[in-house]
């Protein structure tokens, strides 16, 4: 049985490759002056940009998550997240409210400084196998209920961190 963790890992891998293609084509287009070659590269770039969006759409379907989920006032949670500050080693546990191939939204009791790099382990309620990733805090703000909401962006080359443990006692 495939789990959400499997789909997330798979989707991220596909998305990374599609993005690498998009970046590679954009860089090449900046240098190529031959119109015939540039035309073919531009067509490929359009195709790749559409493919990258298609991966995100398919990922949403795999997860069974409605894109509108984030509009709900009372946030449903997808799972539990353990975060480890890579600088000082402190760990905290929080809830995952929303996830995409680029990152995730968390609900937590403490504020996270913008730019902070964290190791994290996501345990979806419906999966046993955790997803281990590194992510950077993009934004964090206090909500009406006194909690905090934070948006984290996954760091590139996630595969290199697979198997990383968040808590040493685990």
């Amino acid at each position: 049985m495939f789990t959400k963790a499997d789909y997330l890992n798979y989707g991220c891998l596909l998305q990374e490759k599609e993005q690498a293609m998009v970046v590679g084509l954009q860089q090449l287009l900046e240098q190529v002056t031959d119109e015939a070659v540039a035309g073919q590269l531009r067509a490929l770039l359009r195709e790749k940009q559409a493919a990258a969006e298609e991966v995100i759409r398919l990922f949403g379907k795999m997860f069974g998550m409605a894109p509108e989920l984030r509009r709900y006032k009372r946030d449903p949670a997808l799972g539990e997240v353990k975060l480890r500050n890579l600088q000082c080693g402190d760990t905290i546990t929080c809830r995952c409210l929303d996830i995409s191939l680029g990152g995730l939204c968390l609900q937590l009791s403490a504020e996270l400084p913008q730019g902070l790099l964290l190791a994290m382990e996501v345990r979806f309620y419906e999966s046993r196998r955790p997803v281990v990733r590194r992510a950077r805090v993009r934004w964090c703000h206090r909500t009406e209920d006194g909690q905090y909401k934070a948006g984290l962006q996954f760091e590139a080359s996630q595969a290199t961190h697979a198997g990383e443990t968040i808590c040493e006692d685990e």
């Binding site: 495939f2 798979y10 596909l14 293609m21 090449l28 070659v37 490929l44 790749k48 398919l58 379907k61």
Partner: protein, 79 residues
Amino acid sequence: MIAKKDLLQAVQALLQLEDDMLSLCQRQSDNPAFLSGIPLQNRPEVHAGFVAFLARSQQNKQTLKNLLGAILSGGSDVY
């Protein structure tokens, strides 16, 4: 402007990426368990999406191969 050998190298790298992507997709679409964790009502759409994705990827691979061939046989040293 880019030198022919650099352009060939760059297109070759793109071709490799497309190949990686194809084998990733192929491996999963050949795996009967792949759809097992997806909500039942979403399975046909996800399956169809992957079949289409795979076909597009194969088409892109061919486009890159054709481009590579055209550059290789082209007379110009810079593009």
